[in-house]
Amino acid sequence: MSPLLALDRVERAFGGVRAVDGAGFAVAPGQVHGLIGPNGAGKTTVINLISGLLAPTAGSIQLGDRPIHGLPPWQVAALGVARTFQNIRLFPDLSARDNVLVGQHLRRTPSLAARMLMLPSARTEEREARERAEALLTRVGLSERVHEHARHLSYGEQRRVEIARALASAPRLLLLDEPTAGMNPVEVQAVAQLIRRVAAEGQSVLLVEHNVRLVMDVCDTITVLCFGKVIAEGAPRTVAEDPAVIAAYLGNPK
């Protein structure tokens, strides 16, 4: 099967430092792909490169058969890529539901004229969007917190709203940047299940995560990044036994 996402010799330098140095890997459709590596390996930079917040200094990134490197973030998003942020970036003064409504931006096609004229069609479209948002929040276990301002939610709740907001655009590829950081074990378990279900529905997930247990449990394939280079790739068990990985990553615990 041709991959959904393919990175080829991608490079990104900041000044003289190459945060990503010729990295290449591919994510297959419907798969959970782990991206791990010691701190400073360039994982978040890779996520920023894919989502268009950064442009690579060399190399190519393909989504399906389209090159997406150098596209602005909103165009990448329009092609079916959604993401969460390592340092949560919800809209703090919007409610949980309104955050998810923003996430539906690409899915919604209301008519401005209908909205201005207060036509019933506009009202129906808005009701459906709200219902979808509430359903997504229920899916991440936040049905009780729909109307709460994002700034008043707990850390773990905020991370879950971010996941719901990313899912709201019905993306082909979901980029999760440390989605369980700061969560308790129960919440981590729930997120693991959610990731598996998302993949089972045919969406691909690229997961950056420090929680080794979670990565081993949910990923189909793992790419190990070290100083911006791919040093190992394969099934979780193969990677875990790779001597280079043990030296670079497990031998250099966080």
Partner: protein, 299 residues
């Protein structure tokens, strides 16, 4: 009774008109503020609208409604090529670049002999009626109210709160910012067109930096988090001098300085204690009361 009301109306007709005109101007600054952009070129847009409308009614003998449409359309069209490069810069730099634009427009008019340079255009026919101004204010408020809570309204709020994050949600942020700049330019131009045909004259120095500062102050004092805040601010600050004129002899300060002093102090108090403007005052009082009750029951 009716006679007294009619007297009152005759005395304050101009104030009532300016509450509406200033409301339009305050809303024109609000549109860009609603997506987090501080653009201060609106005195320039207003001047373009005023001059366009005045020239069309006086030189081309267009009917007033068409001239007013031009006062809306010309600045809106100018805003597009201005916005494309300018909206790439942010924050204070956008403010300065747009102030620069406003000054360029003003100084261009000063140096344009066809429109009498610094003297401006005089003897413009008075065609603006109060109902036209208030119809325009109501229409603007209606459009802004309908935007709020819509897909586009959420996109604007997202851009205001975190622009890069909004971009990763597929929001074409530049288009939204440009749309708001154009809408603001149109409102400022409309206000300019009305003003020109209300006060008989337009002159470049009526559209200087001080004017755009006034617009910003209306929006901030009223409250720039909600669409009707700027109208509250414009009404309050346009009425204030009328009240102060009565008060000035009592406090022994000349009306001119007193007006400036009170304006400055009101603005300072709002920005320090009511960051969401006068419209947030009732909620702030409620919060403050609740805090006092809580403190008392704790004690």
């Amino acid at each position: 009774m009716w006679d007294q009301l009619a007297d009152l109306y005759a005395t304050y007709q101009s104030t009532i008109a300016f509450i509406g005109i200033n409301s339009l101007l305050a809303l024109s600054v609000y549109t860009t503020l609603s997506c987090g952009q501080l653009a201060l070129g609106n005195a320039g847009f207003s001047a373009i609208g005023a001059y366009a409308a005045a020239l069309l009614t006086m030189q081309a003998h267009w009917p007033f409604p068409l001239a007013i449409l031009a006062a809306v359309a010309v600045p809106a069209v100018v805003a597009v090529p201005l916005g494309l490069p300018v909206l790439r810069i942010r924050g204070i730099f956008l403010a300065i670049a747009t102030i620069g634009f406003g000054e360029v427009v003003r100084l261009g008019l000063v140096n344009w002999d066809y429109v009498n340079g610094a003297q401006g255009i005089v003897a413009i026919p008075q065609k603006t009626e109060l109902w036209m101004i208030y119809l325009a204010v109501a229409a603007a408020l209606f459009v802004l109210a309908r935007l709020r809570g819509s897909k586009w309204g959420f996109a604007l709020e997202a851009i205001r709160e975190d622009e890069p994050a909004a971009r990763t949600m597929g929001i074409a942020t530049t288009r939204y910012k440009l749309a708001m700049l154009v809408l603001g330019a149109a409102l400022a131009g409309l206000a300019g067109g009305f003003e020109a045909h209300f006060t008989f004259m337009v002159a470049p120095n009526g559209f200087g930096f001080g004017r755009v500062v006034d617009m910003l102050v209306y929006a901030v004092v009223g409250g720039s988090q909600i669409y009707w805040g700027p109208v509250v601010g414009a009404a309050f600050l346009t009425l204030l001098p009328e009240i102060l004129r009565e008060v000035a002899p009592l406090v022994g300060i000349e009306p001119g300085p007193l007006r400036l002093l009170v304006n400055g102090l009101v603005l300072l108090a709002v920005i320090l204690f009511l960051p969401n403007g006068m419209v947030s005052l009732p909620r702030r009082i409620a919060e403050w009361r609740a805090a006092r009750v809580a403190a008392r029951s704790a004690a």
